[in-house]
């Protein structure tokens, strides 16, 4: 694993966002700043396109924007904990925990195993709860790194 899936600077623990687009935009900004996304606007368009197909909101106040995009250099995750929930299309209400998953367009198989492992962890409530309760960005990144291991 050359690039870790997430680092502390990809986590926003007190993100104030007006809506879905705003929250996504902010998280994309973190990825772009870390050099993982080369074209923030281009990637945002890809994420929007995916979101338009089917909203990625999940029960339990979780938003899961994601896309495979040519503007992504390495499989990455940015996490935002929202101070105020925004609608993510989930049946049970707004999302307060947002995972932005960025996958490179090229590269199959092994390369993306890490994202498969992440998706599997996301289903476990204990995992998302621990992320909500983590005291700071570094702890959030640490929990993800510890728990998400490709099988």
């Amino acid at each position: 694993m050359s690039t870790p899936l997430i680092t502390a600077d990809l986590v926003a623990v007190d993100l104030a966002a007006a809506d879905r687009d705003d929250a996504t935009r902010h998280l994309i900004g973190l990825l772009a700043a870390a050099g993982r996304v080369t074209d923030a606007d281009g990637f945002h368009a890809d994420v929007r396109a995916r979101e338009a197909q089917m909203a990625t909101g999940m029960p339990g106040g979780i938003g899961l924007p994601h896309a495979r995009s040519e503007h992504v250099t390495a499989p990455s995750l940015a996490i935002g904990r929202l101070t105020q929930g925004v609608d993510w299309g989930a049946p049970d209400g707004p999302a307060t925990l947002v995972f932005l998953i960025a996958a490179p367009a090229t590269g199959e198989g092994d390369h993306l195993q890490i994202l498969a492992a992440l998706a599997r962890r996301l289903v476990h409530e204990s995992f998302t709860t621990s992320l909500r309760e983590a005291p700071d960005a570094a702890t959030v990144a640490e929990i993800v790194t510890r728990e998400v291991v490709p099988s």
Binding site: R50, Q53, M54, T56, M58, P59, L64, H66, A67, R68, P91, I101, A103, E108, G109, D110, H111, L112, Q113, L115, A116, A117, A119, R120, R121, L122, V123, H124, S151
Partner: protein
């Protein structure tokens, strides 16, 4: 239950895997096995064919076209889309369980079967597999009837042993007619209660062959097969053809229903085909075939066998015991078994028998032999679990009681699933039991009852030895035969078990 599932989503990086994890989790929580093939961006490992074969049903949690869908042809399924599986995996699992219980067959199964495979070898192999699956479907539906009916009968005998003095309760209980129970049932009478148990069990047993035949036909032809299958099974019972006849009627009825339901009929008739025309025609044909074509030769053969047996009487008793034993073990309640049994029971009715009359010895030999097959299968499932399917192992537990009660039918599920190996072992073991019982000179004055009429058996140590020797020999043979060429169904089940165990180990 066991399920296989396929998950996929447009991007192939998130929902595909979330759905897989949620389904596997829901399966573990509810005590079912769910093995998921994730057709996502991180590559997908195809499911082991053995796992698919062992699965009861399929869950499609896929937003993309499922790759190689024909692998799952013929299995009950639910198709829910990926999001539903992520959001409500337990609900999806419940729907899948309901689909399996309803036996909803895949609408596409017939369509997928039609294209003929490229080579002859392939075709033969797949036909063989399908025949085995058809057979197993019938057997799996029959097993609960065997267990429920057999145990009720055995309990009836047991209770009757207490309710009547003199140790012949198991005989007396069968003499209380149902009409008697209906008109003047006395809730304080143990005798009446034992008769209720016995009669209920006997009624359940009446379904054995129809259910076997009906669900073989159902597996072949889906719903249209049910009616001719059941009717054919009942007809097989009516002509005394037993479970072997039921196997035949199941396949014949299934084939007929499959064929008729594919006729190209005018639109106006199409609506009444499944409800009226197909069941009517296929039942009629199965009835004609069973009653007219199969019935007569069986009746004639039974008459000949009876005459021949009657002519043999008075010759070497040990040989006669071996012969009667072999007949008892051959078709477990079918025509050959019935000839031997009737021969023995008729003998009991002879006037003025002395205490050591040959007729009593013949009856003892016949009963000893008739107890061997279910006991041997029970023993085999205990000492060599790995040779039997899960359902067979469960049935093996009931078979102990059924065998001990002289209910040979306890071995039918084994014999129907794997006829020649089980019948060979049953015939040899039963034959030995009959001969040994004769050699010890054991005698029996009751026509049935198994260990519940032990007080009516003279020299019952000799009788027990005969049963035990027969049981061990029969068990050894069936284990040897099954080990030599393990059943594909059993192997598929074990592969699924192993995969699950590995998955659980990895998860932990």
């Amino acid at each position: 239950m066991k399920f296989v599932a396929v998950s996929s989503c447009p991007t192939g990086i998130a929902h595909t895997y979330m759905a897989a994890e949620a389904l596997e989790q829901a399966g573990r929580a509810a005590g079912h096995e769910v093995v998921v093939e994730t057709q996502g961006a991180a590559g997908s490992t195809p499911l082991d064919p053995a796992v698919i074969a062992a699965a009861d049903g399929v869950i499609y949690a896929a937003d993309l076209e499922v790759r190689d869908k024909e692998r799952f042809a013929g299995k009950p399924f639910v198709d829910v889309g990926v999001k539903k599986a992520v959001h409500d995996a337990p609900g999806v699992l419940a729907a899948a369980i309901a689909a399996v219980e309803a036996g909803v067959p895949a609408a596409t199964s017939a369509a997928v079967h039609t294209p003929s495979p490229a080579t002859k070898v392939d075709r033969n192999a797949s036909v063989g597999t399908r025949v085995r699956q058809w057979l197993m479907t019938g057997v799996s539906y029959m097993i609960p009837f065997v267990a429920a009916g057999g145990i009720l009968i055995a309990l009836g005998f047991m209770l009757a042993g207490i309710a009547w003095d003199g140790g012949n309760g198991a005989v007396e209980v069968t003499k209380i007619p149902v009409t008697d129970l209906v008109s003047n049932f006395d809730p304080t009478s143990l005798q009446q209660w034992s008769a209720v148990l016995f009669q209920t069990g006997a009624l359940a047993f009446g379904f054995l062959v129809p259910v076997l035949s009906g669900f073989i036909a159902y597996a072949i032809a889906d719903r249209p097969g049910l009616v001719p299958g059941f009717v054919g099974g009942a007809a097989s019972v009516a002509v005394g053809a037993g479970f072997l006849g039921g196997l035949v009627t199941g396949f014949v009825a299934g084939g007929l229903a499959w064929w008729i339901s594919r006729w190209n009929v005018p639109k106006g008739v199409r609506g009444v085909m499944p409800v009226v025309v197909t069941p009517l025609l296929s039942s009629l044909l199965v009835g004609i075939i069973t009653l007219v074509v199969i019935g007569r030769p069986i009746a004639a053969a039974m008459d000949h066998l009876s005459d021949w047996l009657n002519g043999l009487s008075g010759n070497n008793l040990v040989l006669l015991g071996a012969l009667l034993g072999a007949m008892m073990g051959f078709d477990l309640g079918g025509p050959v078994n019935k000839v031997a049994y009737t021969f023995a029971v008729t003998g009991l009715a002879t006037e003025g028998l002395t205490a050591d009359a040959n007729q009593y010895k013949i009856m003892a030999a016949v009963m000893a032999a008739g107890m061997v097959a279910p006991l041997a299968m029970a023993l085999a499932t205990t000492v060599r679990k790995s040779l039997f399917t899960h359902a067979e192992r469960e049935n093996g537990k009931a078979a102990w009681l059924l065998g001990a009660s002289f209910i040979s039918e306890g071995a039918i599920p084994f014999a129907a699933a794997d006829p020649w190996r089980v019948i060979v072992s049953s015939v040899v073991g039963s034959s030995v039991a009959g001969a040994v019982s004769m050699a010890f000179g054991a005698g029996l004055r009751a026509p049935h009852g198994g260990i519940w009429v032990l007080p009516l058996i003279s020299n019952f140590w000799g009788f027990l030895v005969a049963v035990l020797v027969g049981m061990v020999i029969s068990c050894a043979i069936v284990i040897a035969l099954k080990s030599a060429r393990p059943s594909a169904v059993v192997q598929a089940e074990q592969a699924a078990d192993a995969q699950l165990a590995a998955a659980v180990a990895t998860a932990a």
